[in-house]
């Protein structure tokens, strides 16, 4: 496991490259694209376990943090969608520089899936496969969900102790608009999320695209139809497991659910 920084001096990104175990060179290289904020904290351990599983099956793996997130340079408020899309392209370049494998697969979860789709249209060589896990398609709804969960956490944590958090919100000392479960949202990111919808979700560019959703998820139907109209077949994969992406107290929830990790590992390594 090699932790390192890459990218230009003004936009240094933290990454961890894990080489495939065994003597044979890897045939596949995987780039894991994080979700946003608390969801990324939730996904960290799962991605690490996924990476470990993939390296055991002959896959080189790069995990990394977008600018203004995780260990990468930048503050919370510096994060925005266009920059993060460029970060995926930079990480792709870093992965292909380090790995000699001929096949590249991207995995993107939640907002990371939307970013990966957007990045796939500008990367010089399109990924062989794109795996989108519960992609955020409706940005305004996502912002609402973040806000609702944030309020729920505050209510859960403060009301039991009769602390005046609502008064603090009303007085402006605990602003809600700019906070999402402990992360500060910049104006640009909020505007970009508000604009993100099924109508302008970037259609992915890849030889193959898998989309993992819950069996009862209907919100992706429009996107799938748009893809098919554009000649890209989406392989929809139903996952029964309900992963609570925004769970706040990570210590009280499953960090590494077996089913999604197993499924992702299979989708990354399955032949073209």
């Amino acid at each position: 496991m090699s932790p390192f920084y890459f990218g230009p001096p003004e936009r240094r990104l933290f990454g961890i490259f894990e080489r495939a175990k065994g003597a044979a060179p890897a045939v596949t290289a995987a780039l894991l694209c994080n979700p946003f904020g608390q969801e990324a904290i939730r996904a960290h351990r799962m991605y690490r376990v996924l990476a470990n599983r993939l390296t055991s099956t002959g896959v080189d793996v790069l995990r990394f943090d977008y600018f203004g997130t995780g260990d990468s340079a930048g503050d919370d408020v510096d994060g925005e969608i266009d920059g993060w899309t460029c970060d995926i392209n930079a990480a792709h370049a870093e992965l292909t520089r380090r790995s000699r494998s001929s096949r590249v697969v991207w995995v993107g979860a939640r907002l990371g899936a939307a970013l990966a789709a957007q990045a796939s249209v500008s990367v010089p060589r399109m990924p062989d496969k794109l795996i989108l896990w519960e992609p955020v398609i409706d940005g305004a709804a996502y912002l609402r969900e973040l806000r609702e969960r944030h309020v729920l956490v505050l209510a859960d944590n403060f009301e039991e102790w009769e602390l005046p958090w609502r008064a603090m919100v009303a007085s402006g000392s605990m602003p809600l608009q700019r906070e999402a479960l402990g992360f500060e949202l910049g104006d640009e990111l909020r505007a970009q999320l508000c604009a993100l919808s099924n109508a302008n979700f970037t259609l992915p560019r890849a030889l193959r695209c898998d989309m993992i959703t819950r069996p009862d998820e209907l919100s992706v139907a429009g996107l799938v139809a748009r893809c098919e109209a554009a000649g890209l077949t989406i392989n929809q994969v139903a996952l029964e497991y309900e992963f609570d992406w925004m769970a706040h107290e990570a210590m009280n929830t499953a960090l590494v659910p077996t089913e999604p990790v197993q499924l992702l590992a299979e989708l990354v390594t399955e032949p073209k």
Binding site: M1, P3, D71, G182
Partner: protein, 279 residues
């Protein structure tokens, strides 16, 4: 500010990020410890924010994952989780002493991180200061009364329903709790003895709590240990705007300020020869 990714420890299994000082060196290294199972960036990235803020004031800061947490593998040698955490933290101090000539260390952590900071401070004389957020707490008569009254007042259908939902969902094997990386809490007497040892050694101790089960009013720590001399020498804060993981930004700013105040009181030492030039 250029941060450096490092793999360290005897088996190079510990993954961390070094934030070198971007102002004249204070001769003091600060270690940000894991809050439970959250990886080294800390809840809501607070360890990154604190590291960069302290580095701007001349401190060398390391955030890292202890074995089995975040990106750090467990070593081949098997000891208990608590003992391994102490070894790992000391290994990071060894690294900073060897590679950067630093001999004085300050540790800060949330929850399990606070407990590890406390344990390492007792085990290693190089530790000159500890900042414990949501560390060990001890009940008083007043805190027990407050909790009883709240318990009775808080009974509502909604809460009973929520508890039931939680209980039922806990039966889902996919939601089982992972083992908690914490050390057994010291008894009240042991805690008092340990703190006295640290105070007499000149360690600057700052503690911060938020409202929770077990800590329910601002002066609780002082009341719990009013017969013990150490309590006059520690700084104790009650961060009303915070929760367990310092979620509100206003709480994050308050904790950062408390850390600034604490670190300015921690004794430092002149660095020894450095094997690696500070960047």
């Amino acid at each position: 500010m250029t941060e450096i990714a490092v793999s360290l420890g005897p088996q190079k299994n510990l993954i961390g990020v070094l934030t070198p000082p971007s102002a004249p060196s204070q001769g003091l290294a600060v270690l940000c410890l894991n809050a439970g199972v959250v990886h080294r960036i800390g809840p809501h990235r607070i360890s990154v924010k604190v590291a960069r803020r302290l580095a701007a004031h001349g401190y060398t800061v390391m955030r890292f994952d202890i074995s089995g947490v975040g990106d750090s593998r467990s070593p081949h040698t098997a000891v208990s989780f608590g003992e391994q955490a102490i070894r790992d933290i000391r290994a990071v101090m060894d690294y900073l002493e060897r590679e950067h000539g630093l001999q004085a260390f300050a540790l800060w952590g949330i929850c399990a991180g606070a407990e590890n900071a406390y344990a390492v401070a007792l085990a290693d004389g190089r530790v000159k200061g500890i900042f414990l957020f949501d560390g060990y707490a001890y009940a008083t008569l007043r805190s027990r009364l407050i909790e009883q009254v709240r318990r009775v007042r808080s009974i509502s259908l909604k809460k009973v329903k929520r508890r039931l939902v939680r209980l039922l969902s806990a039966e889902d094997p996919g939601k089982q709790q992972p083992p908690q990386p914490t050390l057994p809490p010291p008894t009240r007497e042991q805690f008092a003895r340990d703190m006295q040892v640290l105070i007499e050694r000149g360690v600057r101790v700052s503690m911060a709590f938020f409202a929770k089960r077990g800590y329910v009013y601002p002066g609780q720590m002082r009341d719990a240990f009013k017969r013990y001399p150490f309590v006059e020498q520690v700084v104790c804060h009650y961060v009303m705007e915070s929760d367990h993981l310092v979620t509100p930004l206003v709480a994050q700013r308050r904790v950062s300020t408390l850390i600034d105040d604490w670190i300015s009181t921690v004794p430092r030492s002149l660095p020894k020869r450095s094997n690696v030039a500070q960047q």
